[in-house]
Every structure is written in structure tokens, then in C-alpha cells.
Amino acid sequence: MASGIRLEKLRKSFGATEVIKGIDMEIEPGEFVVLVGPSGCGKSTLLNLIAGLETATGGAIRIGGKLVNDVPPRDRDIAMVFQSYALYPTKTVRDNITFGMQTRRIPKDNQQAALEEFSQLLQIDHLLDRKPGQLSGGQRQRVAMGRALVRKPEVFLFDEPLSNLDAKLRISMRTEIKKLHQRLGKTIVYVTHDQIEAMTLATRIAVMDNGHIRQFAPPADIYENPVDLFVAGFMGSPPMNMLPGVLCRNGAALAVQPKGTGLRFPLPRPLADRVTLQDGDQVVLGLRPESIFAAETELPGENRFVFEEAVEVVEPTGPDTMIVFDIGGTEMIARVRPEDARPEGTRFRFEVDMTKAKLFTPDTGQAM
């Protein structure tokens, strides 16, 4: 019942600037795809292309197997939340939300029911008679959400739909979207900058960069096995620490020695086995902040490596505290428990869980 989306060599230019540079992507029916990528990389443009709001410069778009390059938006059976909301300024919240149903001649009763359902869910039921100009930013965003949700199209396109909501509301919205997806089984393409949203909602995440797709894989894969430095650095907040160094034999085992230091990070077995490089070759060691913690604060495990550095910055975030320190000129971040934090300037013993380390070739950026 849901339709898949297939993009083939899709391109889009605005005048001389090419924004989408040949994207191939196959989204299964009922999938929940989250698009992430740096600001300006072409995410909104890609959604616009799928919606038919921009005409592709090249390539094909298929929805449910049908070539839709020439099909106007209204015949594509999609709903969309715009990053800029794009609410109808003269219509009340109520009419903004039901307009899409009105155009499709859905019976009044059903409209009313859908309106009630979603306005309660979005906590805007007390605002139904206001005009968009009388709403706060987050309220507008929720109206934009409501407008898309009330219809039950084949494909939902969400462009940062929760960015202006507070954490609490965002979590509950997230849950509702997930439930809705499970209930309706529609295909969803969702743009977000929120790590957690991406990780928890997606069946697959597509990481975009500068008009290309870098990796398109399930969330855990993206997080655990980023294909390259870009993806590794982009997913994760704070991002993965990237430590340039050289490979060296540490007795029987392989280790990475960061430039300008005497530290040697021993590589665990499976990773070391995959390394095809020579002793002395340049590598980049990827260590996520959560795998660096205060020494002896976790249960002992295999492949741990302990070292000492000076605390440069302490950033409490609430549940955790981030400690910024320096290894051979590279700024590193460790995530420690608030009670383990020490003031800036003090020496601190860090412990690394090397089983979670990643290794990249510095020139191509590819993961090993």
C-alpha cells in the first residue's frame, strides 16, 4: 500500500550552481528515511524534488514505481512540512490544517475527526481560531506539522519539523510520529539535525554532503560503521574525536601513536586484523567521546587503555560532563560522569575503550 521512492541520477541546478549532484537512492515502501547533512547540502532541495516543487535538471524520480518527473505535486499524493512553515496567513489554524482535506473533498465529518485528533496530539487545540500571525514560533511549526499529518498520503516529507519545539514536546512528538509511522506504514522522508531524532526514528539514515549521498544505512550502522571520516564526524554529538597518528607494532599487537606524543593506543584484535597498512603508515584513529571516560569509573574490560592529560575545558551538560583535552595538538572530548569531573588545569587519568575505536586512512578518508 505504501509507495517506495526511487531516485536515479537525480540532479538539480539553480542557474549555475549545482545543488543535487546525481543522487541514486532506493527507498522501500513504508520505510522511514532520515536525511542528515550539513546546512546547505541540499536536503530541502531533495525533498522539494520528491514533492515536485522543483523540476529536476536531470535524472528520474519514481514513486511507487511510476516515473513522476512530470507529475504535478498534487497528483503525487504526498504531504510535506516546510522548513519555513509556509502557513496560509489569512486562514485560521483550523483552515490551515483542513485545507488539504478540503481540496480532496474529504467528508466534513472525517475532516473534523482528523482535525481534532491531531490538534490534540500537537497541543494546538486551543489555537484553532487564531491566524498564524498570532502564534509563537513553535506553535506555527506545530500547525505546519498538523497540516501534513491530517492527510494520509502515500509519502510524508518532513523538513526539520521539530526544530523549534522544546525538548519535552519534541520527545512526545517524536514518539507520536513513530507510532503514526507504525500504524499507517507510510513512507517517510525526514530531515533533521537532531541526532537522537535521526537515530531513534529512522529505519535508514542517509548522510548527505554537498549534493551527494555519503552513506545510506540503518542508524546503528551509520553510528557504528561510518564509511568515512565525513560520516563519522558528522554523526554523533559531540562528534567523534579524530586523532591523526602512525601505525606501529607494539610488541605483538598493532597500535596507533598520535603525532608528537609517546602514547600508543593499542588496536583490538578484530580491528587490527583488518588493517592492511604497514608499520609507520599514517592513520586517523576515531574515538567517540563516550568511549573515553575517567579511569577506573567503569567496570574493567578488555582493550582498555589509560593515559593522563591535562583538563582544558569542563562542560557540564547535565547528565554528563564533557572534558576537553589535548593530544599532540588535537582537541579531544571525553564524556565523564558529572561527579568525576575535575577543574580545568588538573591532570586527569582517562580510560579508553579501544573496542569501539575506528580507523581511517587519512588521504581518502575511508574507514578500514
Binding site: 515536485g52 516543487l53 522543483e54 512530470d70 507529475v71 504535478p72 522548513q83 502557513l87
Partner: protein, 297 residues
Amino acid sequence: MRQRRTSGIVQPKGLRSVLMRMGLFAVLGLFCLYYLLPLVVMVSTSLKSLAEIREGTLLSLPQAITFDAWAKAWDSACVGVRCDGLKPFMWNSIAMAVPAVILSTTLGAINGYALTKWRFPGADWIFALILFGAFIPFQVVLLPMARTLGQLGLAGTVPGLILVHTVYGLAFTTLFFRNFFVSVSDGILQAAKVDGAGFFGIFFRIVLPMSIPAIVVTVIWQFTQIWNDFLFGVAFTIGDSNPVTVALNNVVNTSTGVKEYNVDMAAAIIAALPTMLVYVVAGAYFVRGLSAGAVKG
């Protein structure tokens, strides 16, 4: 670079849309006919000789094309004792219309801006009262106006006429701009206020560049009204300083003389040329999306 951000929306292709497109052009074309028909008659008449007009049916196409009528209308038709055609009067109209258009448009813009974006108590009342001026019959104001101009020492002068046109144009220019400004987002103005711009700074540097469509329709309206005005021109100018409409009227209207329809038509078209030029030039600024990307929501 001005581009339409909706131009990307995929339009349906196929037979139906081709038909729709053809229908669209058919309707547009039909209306072109409606609008052009009188012009065709005018042009064709202006290209006939007077004999042919008298002999043939008025609406037939010219047998032998002659531009004499045009030449005559331009520089040798008699306007009273002077037989220099419309030429000398064009300048009078320009000297009057251009300042009057600029003045009334600017004042209207400021007025509309102050009344919508800096609302103060009573702003709506003031607007409504100013607007009502649009309905005052000009025949009625003629005598008191003459009196006022006489007292101001402006009777029979171009500045006097400019004053009159500015005053009575204000209702319209204010209306156009006010109605445009009500749909301009307040957010942008707020940003400008924080950026340190004052009343006029915001107006000239932020608001005015955004209101090009409003300026276009206002200028078109004001220029047309002022250029084509006859009554004030007749009443408040003398002889050689008459605007071109008065001259046109003098060429065309003969009470007991011989009517030269070909010259009349040519003269009418000539007198309208500057206005049409304004339509073409101003019309080029009917652009889309001046507010694109400004705000969310």
C-alpha cells in the same frame, strides 16, 4: 538576479495540459482582440486620407496608406491660431506630470507606510478620511480650487497644477501603498528597528525596495490620471502652457468646423504614447518574489 521561486513547481504535461494551455492562450487572445479592436480602427483611420474616410465605410481598412495625418497631428495641426500640432504641448505635460507623479507617489508611500507600520491611535480614521477624497467630484472643486490658487498666486502656473494633482492624487497613492504594506511582515521592520534604522531609514532602505509592485501600479495610475487630465489642465493653465490633452481636445473638437478624423486619431495616439511608454517601462517591474525568503511562518 530575480527569479521566480515557484517556477520550479512541476506542471502537468500531456494532452489535458496542452489543451488547458491552448485554452489559456485562446482566452488571452480573445481579450487582446477586445482591447485592440478600437486601436485597430484608430490606426487604420489615421492612415486614410480624409476623402477616403468620407467616401468609404468608417471601419474599412485603408486603401492607400498615408502618414500625412500623423505628420499633421505632430507638428502642423492647428490648435487655435497656432498651427504647430501637438509637439509644443508634449513638453508642458511632461513638465507637469513627472513632478506631480513623483511627488504624489512619494507622499502616498510615506503616508501609507506611516499609517500601517507605525500605527498610532486614529490612524484608520485618518486613512478613511483621506481615502474619501477619492470620491470628490472634480467639477465641484474647480471653483474653490481656482480661488485658492489665485490667493496663493499660483493661478495659471505649472506649480499650481502640480499642487492640484498631488493633492487629489494622494487619496489613491496612499490607498495603494497602505494596502500593499499591510501584507509586509512586521518582523522585517522590527529587525530594521533593532538595526538602528529610524522612520525614514526603514522606509527608504527596507520598505521601498520591497514595494516595487506597489510603486508600479501607483505610478501607472498617477501618470495616466495626470497625463490624461483635461479639466484641471483647462481650468488652471493658460494658452501656451496647456497640457497636451487640452491641445488634443482643441485639435479634435470642432464645433462647426470640418472634422478631420484621420488627424484626430493620429493625435490621440501620439498624445497617449508617453503613457504607453510608462506602461512598458514600469510594467517590466511586475516581478515575483520580492519578499521571498524573508521570514518563517
